[in-house]
């Protein structure tokens, strides 16, 4: 058990004008699991991810990461935790536009004592797998949306974090680029047992994971485990489930 969320509530706004986005979520994620979160737009997926990853604060409830309650940690400790153990891929890519692709990717390594050669090797490996090695000297303004997304992915992978949080990592990718990214995620998941929490609208992407959690109106609506099934079977079940929930349907 690497992540455990207990009764998470999150609301935005002031006292007079309040919207409750998460209405009490209990969730346990085991070490080495690959979990997808699905749900209609506005259902609170990004919010849940932010809360789990310590970027945002909960209104009430607790989040434990490796038995440690991160809702009570100090800012400095939290920052260290994010730096050391987490990898992020954000919905809006979040690249620094003053840095080249390579510099953006290597950013998480800058605080570690990794020697130059090792860093270089890691960079080559990851960027070649995601087919962005040739872009390394370019600035974000000079590359396409999908290339930005892969850069953001490479940044999340480079330091082989314990947990990777990915918010719609395939949103801007064609199916080929998407599947190589998902393969990479899967590989990290099986090789170094990184735990992966991914938000997606895409049933194909979700079928790569071990478990899919459906959110609706700020609550967990249902949850599917892959178990021993094949990816195709799992895909079909996800599709069925999605049409029951409604909202955003098939869109890839």
């Amino acid at each position: 058990m690497i992540i455990q969320a207990k009764g998470i509530k999150k609301s935005y706004g002031n006292r007079l004008n309040r919207t409750e986005v998460l209405k009490g979520i209990d969730l346990t994620i085991e070490e080495g699991e690959f979990v997808s979160i699905m749900g209609p737009s506005g259902s609170g997926k990004t919010t849940l991810l932010n809360v789990l990853s310590s970027i945002d604060q909960v209104t009430s409830g607790h989040v434990f990461v490796e038995e440690q309650d991160i809702t009570t940690l100090k800012e400095k400790k939290l920052a260290d935790f994010r730096k050391e153990d987490l990898g992020f891929m954000f919905q809006e890519y979040n690249l620094l536009h003053t840095l080249t692709v390579k510099e953006n990717i290597l950013l998480p390594l800058s605080i570690r004592d990794i020697d130059k050669k090792e860093a270089e090797k890691q960079f080559e490996l990851v960027s070649k797998e995601l087919a962005i090695y040739d872009l390394k000297g370019k600035y974000p303004s000079e590359i396409s949306g999908g290339q930005k997304q892969r850069t953001s992915a490479a940044r999340a992978f480079i330091h082989q974090p314990k947990i990777i949080f990915a918010d719609e990592p395939t949103g801007a990718l064609d199916s080929k680029a998407a599947s190589s990214l998902l393969h990479k995620l899967k590989q990290l998941n099986s090789k170094i047992r990184s735990t992966i929490v991914m938000v997606t609208h895409d049933a194909t992407a979700a079928s790569y994971s071990n478990r899919v959690i459906f959110l609706k109106d700020g609550l967990i609506y249902s949850s599917l485990r892959k178990g021993e099934r094949s990816q195709e079977e799992f895909y079909m079940e996800i599709m069925n489930n999605q049409s029951v929930i409604g909202g955003v349907g098939v869109e890839s």
């Binding site: 970027i55 800012e75 400095k76 920052a79 260290d80 935790f81 994010r82 730096k83 050391e84 987490l86 992020f88 954000f90 979040n94 690249l95 620094l96 536009h97 003053t98 840095l99 080249t100 390579k102 510099e103 990717i105 290597l106 950013l107 998480p108 390594l109 800058s110 605080i111 130059k116 860093a119 270089e120 960079f123 390394k136 000297g137 600035y139 974000p140 303004s141 000079e142």
Partner: protein
Amino acid sequence: MSLNRIILKNFFKSVKNYALYIFALIFSVVLYFSFVLMSQDDTIAAELQSESVMSTGFTVGSVLLVVIIVLFVMFANSIFLKRRNKELALFQLIGLRRKKLLRILVLENAVIYFGSLVSGITLGFLISRMLLLLLLRMLQIELSIGMSFSVTAVTQTAILFVCIFVLLMIQNFIFLKRTRLVDMLKLNQSIESDYRGIGFWTIVSGFLGLVMILSGYWLSMNIMDFGTVLVPLLLGILFLTIVGTYLLFKASVAFVLNVIRQSKNGRLNVKDVLSLTSIMFKMKSNAFLLTLISIISALSMGLMSFSYISYYSVEQSVNASISNDYVFYEEEEMLFYSELLDESGINHEVRTVPFLNYEATGEGITINTPRGGSEIDLVIVSADHIESATVKENEIIIKGLISTLDAFMNFEINSPITLFNSDYEQTLELIEVDGEAILPSHVARGALQAVVSNEVYQKLEEQYTYDEELRDNLVSYAIDISEEDSQEIFELMNQDGHHSFESRINQYTVQMQGAGVMMFVIGFVGIAFLMTTGCILYFKQVGEGEDEKESYKILRKLGFTVNELVKGLTIKVVLTFGIPLLMGLLHTYFAVNAGWFIFGSEMWLPMLTVMIGYVFLYLIFAFFSLLYYKKIVRESI
């Protein structure tokens, strides 16, 4: 909700954004108004010995002020417009006509603008009173100031700022007209598109910039060697340093930072991200502005140094030009005033000093002009007439060496100097050189003076070839007051109002007040310049902070702490303020070093005082920028 209400609401919501703009406006009004108010204050003018000094000084000053204020306000307005770009685009997108939009802008601006005008005038009135006290102090006039409020000053300020208002509206109009809707909506992307790699030309021009500045400096140090082509030389130096500074900001800085960056091979830490990479691009796109800032601050520091040098050196320069308390052109006049002083019971000594004109040469004298040589004219006086000088036989003291001459001539103590005329020579040993004059300037006519022992003087006199017409004129007439000379004694001697003598104390007062008014005006304008450049840099930092907010957010999401970010930003602030500051200081140093001797006799103390003041002002602005960054970083997540 009607459109007008939406706009109004938007306006009040973004009133925080206006804070800077309002500050810039009030600041400018205060500057101008207090300046005009002071220039119209009769109390000082009445006290001054020479009235024209005041009005000329203030006129020149106010022209300079108007120029800087117009530039400053327009700059602030442009930042302000850019910030509201998106909002304006949105209104256009939903179908608001440009004409209507402009009307809204005019209305908004009018409210802000005239509000600022009124508060600026009030504040300016209070501040000008304080400054006036300072000015009186500097002029050593004791006087109490009332609270005279000048309507003309208000009108004058109001007229200027109404004109500026019209200018601003034209600026807004052009801005609206020029920007296409697509550009306006893509605001963020358009900022990003600046971020591109460093090309070959950057390297070349970066190098060229450094070379140009250095050669400009080198020329300024060796100005004397090129004395014959002074004007083209000065223009050349100006050209080299200004263009060099521009290239430095445009390319050299980016080039150097890029070398550092390359050496890290992609592994940048958070400090590099926030300082190196950000500055690399920002300096490039702000090159023109930064050049302007460096040049303006060098200019104002240079002028302030010069005026402070002349203020500081008034006493010495008076002593170098007027040898005695009172100096007369005719013997009868001297006797007349001596009698007058006797009647009033004032102890004094009459000094009738004969002198001779000789030429001098020898190892003790070197002249640093392209023509070289070592022949100078000396006016010789016997030591018997000069109490302060002790000269043995065969020795000589040179007097009245003012800094202007000092720059051209070198004197070697203990070296021989030969006095000669067409048929006589006498070699003596130089034992001392001194800045004080021993003969009045109308007698010495710009030549240096020398004291020799009476024996030598006798010999020189015997051998002197007299020009018959001038024979009687080889005597100077002066009076020294035994005790301290005072303004009262001067008034006594100057009863009829137009005196036919020169008075050291009067000359001192006149020059001191002239230099004082000049220094005050230049100081005021100079500080105004510095403040505005500091403000502009601060505004720029605020703008950059807003632009980079997104980056701070990302970095914090990636796990960097507020402290780490602030450390990186500190480096950035130090560099953004430090580089223009350093350029300004260096330019000033080389400019002052090349020309200070024209203005007085002491360079370091006045120059350093000005420089320290400048550094201090910049520190304040840098500090505020840092505070602002801190706030943004803290609120970014």
